[in-house]
Subunit: 202 residues, 2 copies
């Protein structure tokens, strides 16, 4: 099991390597990779060693080869299907974002409980009633969900997602979800992110 | 200097304590606070000790007293003024979010470079031309910014924010910003968050 922090760093290396390829750069040192994430060259080599033997210290890496190796180990070619529950401000912004596809994540279905939103199209996807979540998730073999409903409906909708067979939830609500251990939950609290930042400029 | 992770935990305690007050709960043990964040009672006591002497081990905390003490130490009563640069999908979602005010953060101004958006109102705020950022930031004494422009304009707009006197940027773009040490940058990469989560459900 690779630690979450390592995966996050390696994903950012991957994104940066893709950017370098577009610029026409062919080689890169572990020092330049380290600068990107404000870590050390030895941390870079340690991270990459979790993903197999890459490059020798001092001789740098081939950008294309390293990027494709990371992509393969991280399972990029396997498309992950994601649904969004709650098509309010945040849900709509996430549904419209093209950057998920670069990482092999595709938004397959979107749900809401508001009759004014059901059957409306959002970026090509028809919004469905939250009550239909189980059949839609099963039919499309969706295993991940983004939760962007109000705090008051968070736990109830999360339960529905669990019962529909969803195995991972990215939770944007400020509510701590109580689910079985079969479902992995990751919380993003944007208000806490912004507030935490404010303490560094006392 | 209190570590960032500790501030993030204490902010979540504060949010939970507010929730408890609304439910009418008067006392809470460090064990219940620990459960909320999946940490230990001794971690809770350690976190709170950075913010002054609170409660004795074993006797729990008074919810109202603890919440107000945390709020005061974290400077909640001092409003932090924030602006948003880039009023696309994500910028609009963040501008419309009421949850920031609970933590003493207020969105004071929003900017964009698209003539179709300039002078339009978003949740009561008139969108201004990004070129006016310096005078608006100075006049309103804004010291924080949220960056939600496309990757291609991220560095240039970040420079403008720095020159306007902004001291902290919450960066949603996938670009590593190069700014002077006067500006504190915190990066949120929602695509990496979602992709990282997918590795836990191989
Ligand atoms: N907008 C932001 O920038 C932001 C920032 C931080 C956190 N959040 C959190 O994200 C969540 C969504 O925020 P928002 O600003 O998009 O809110 P919003 O009110 O704009 O959208 C919520 C959506 O959820 C739908 N909904 C309500 N109950 C539902 C149910 N039972 N099943 C399915 N859909 C349901 C509503 O119809 C609405 O479309 C909230 O929990 C909020 O605290 C948002
Ligand atoms: N939407 C999401 O869910 C999401 C998720 C992850 C990351 N992001 C990142 O957040 C950023 C914004 O994403 P989005 O989906 O809102 O994009 P968007 O294209 O909807 O919005 C971008 C906005 O920035 C404005 N803009 C462009 N150049 C500008 C400049 N020089 N000065 C001021 N404004 C300028 C555009 O006019 C537009 O209104 C992007 O960098 C994206 O990678 C977005």
């Amino acid at each position: 099991k690779i630690p979450k922090k390592t995966i996050q760093r390696v994903l950012i290396y991957h994104r940066y390597l893709t950017f370098l390829l577009q610029q026409g750069t062919r080689d890169i040192s572990s020092k330049s990779l380290a600068d990107i994430l404000e870590t050390t060259p030895s941390q870079v080599r340690k991270d990459l060693s979790c993903f197999g033997r890459f490059g020798k210290s001092g001789s740098g890496y081939d950008v294309l080869e390293l990027r494709d190796l990371i992509g393969k180990r991280l399972g990029f070619e396997k498309l992950r299907k994601v649904c969004i529950a709650g098509m309010g401000n945040l849900g709509v912004a996430l549904a419209g974002y093209r950057g998920f596809e670069d990482l092999g994540l595709t938004i397959q279905a979107v749900f809401d409980s508001d009759p004014k939103k059901i059957n409306r199209k959002f970026d090509g996807l028809v919004c469905r009633d939250i009550k239909e979540i189980a059949p839609v998730v099963k039919k499309n073999q969706i295993d991940m969900a983004v939760l962007t409903v109000p705090a008051g409906s968070a736990q109830e909708v999360a339960r529905r997602l669990e019962n529909a067979g969803i195995r991972a939830i990215l939770n944007f609500t400020p509510v701590k979800l109580t689910l079985s251990s079969r479902v992995k939950v990751s919380n993003v609290d944007l208000a806490v992110e912004l507030k935490t930042l404010s303490f560094f400029i006392r």
